[in-house]
Subunit: 293 residues, 2 copies
């Protein structure tokens, strides 16, 4: 069994990005600039955004954090989005989700100029990904592809089971794993809450990507010997053993599943760190105008 | 075994559309207007466009056919697309594919205003479909969903195997069959040219949607008793028995597979007629501004 070390890989990628940024700057180019809008003070969102700002520094990017109180009107938020769309210094930006209920997330996403949509959530980027055109691929699926690549994991002709059909992980992951490319070219099965015989489906899988958000859902008796298991779950489960009072728990019962795997990602330290690094890679692409002019 | 009669269903839908158009006109509304651009004189394309024009008449739509010779420049074609984008009388329009090699199909598709893209090929419509937002769903997958609906075929929790990963059938079909809806909620497996054990995958399927473009690929020993088989193939196979010199042949070896099926579509007369009728339904939606204002 080999552990897929997302923490180490993500550190390495940040160094690669920083080296490229240094070179861009040396050549008189512009420092890539990521802006983030944070609404309210949700604990999870605060942590995510703080990590993004920190990662920007590590990559040599400029970053801006724009804060609004939870009571901000949709109109005010959309006006800020439009301002960032027009701001030539901002190469890419994100609006941290979730948003307060009185604001339409979909409206906000669709107001972002797709050429600056480094989260890859705008329908144009989603559609271009599905068709196989250059685009900003959303962070988590992008990070998983990168892990498969860096560990030279064969995907062509393999049977890949994706657990979950969310718009930000399950669906794009399935699209990417079936595309004519590496990683890709896999036979892909998508299971979800309405699926029957999930155990049987998983037992046939060479690669399992678990993104259901159900702590320790995938058990040893659902995985065949030699499988590759990617755990996207990050549920906060109450715990008396940690200072924070919770423990990040994946969708995979790691201790027992790991014994059967060829490769497996831990939680934390697997997919999680790759997600932020994917955002950094998209920001670099945006800074270089590599996808859209 | 019950035959899914796409010809009868499509005739019925055209009547339903014509009735709705009559009512719209009665209420002083505008007759929906579909325009089609045809480049060159490809036999298949001529037939398809002629059928579309004829279907428009049956539905009570206004239709316009704009022709260019195969030598038309990309610039001239794009200028016409932009003109149709601006033409308030045109509710929706299509550019018949394939185009001559010197013209970028993708550029043409992306130049079409997505609000008039009744073929559903623009990345915005593809992306919105994937996310589950209202949009123009492309014609063939849309037609298949309608057949499943009209025959009350259960899809929730069923195992659906999609053969083929094309942008216009396989990928959107997979997206739609896994969405939280009816038809949908199926466990979906996508197989393609790089898949191993396609027979084994198909034998496990409750619903098979064959869209490989390989005549008579799906044989009786690949289908379980009681399966639902949807045949999207329409390959022109040379034949001495027809006036045209060819015979439309599906991806399914119909005679032997039909015996095992609960439901099956024939070729011709199954999915084919539904494809044009889906375009008519999208045109009606465009005329009513039901999806985009």
């Amino acid at each position: 069994m080999q552990l897929i070390d997302g923490k180490a890989i993500s550190a390495q990628i940040k160094q690669e990005i920083a080296a490229e940024v240094a070179q861009i700057v040396n050549n008189g180019g512009k420092v890539p600039h990521l802006a983030a809008i944070l609404v309210g003070h949700d604990g999870g969102s605060e942590t995510y955004v703080a990590n993004k700002v920190k990662s920007c520094a590590e990559c040599g990017f400029k970053s801006s954090l724009i804060r609004f109180e939870a009571e901000v009107t949709e109109e005010t938020l959309l006006a800020k989005v439009r301002e960032l769309n027009e701001d030539a210094d901002v190469d890419g930006f994100i609006v941290q989700l979730p948003l307060p209920k009185h604001i339409s997330e979909q409206k906000v996403i669709e107001t972002i100029d797709y050429r600056k949509d480094v989260d890859g959530f705008h329908p144009i980027n989603v559609g271009r990904m599905s068709i196989g055109l250059p685009c900003y691929v959303s962070a988590t699926p992008n990070g998983i592809l990168e892990l498969l690549k860096r560990y030279n994991i064969e995907t062509s002709g393999k049977h890949c089971v994706v657990l979950g059909r969310s718009n930000i992980v399950g669906k794009p992951m399935a699209s990417l794993m079936m595309q004519k490319a590496y990683p890709g070219d896999a036979t892909v099965t998508v299971c979800h809450s309405r699926s029957k015989n999930i155990q049987e489906e998983c037992l046939r899988a060479d690669i399992i990507i678990a993104a259901l958000g159900q702590p320790e859902f995938l058990k040893a008796d659902m995985v065949k010997e030699g499988a590759v298991v990617i755990d996207v779950g990050t549920t906060r489960v109450p715990s008396t053993l940690t200072k924070s009072g919770f423990k990040l728990t994946g969708d995979v019962k790691f201790d027992e599943v790991a014994l059967k795997c060829l490769f497996i990602t831990p939680v934390p330290g697997g997919v999680g760190p790759m997600t932020i690094v994917s955002l950094m890679r998209n920001t670099l692409l945006a800074g270089k105008k590599a996808i859209y002019k």
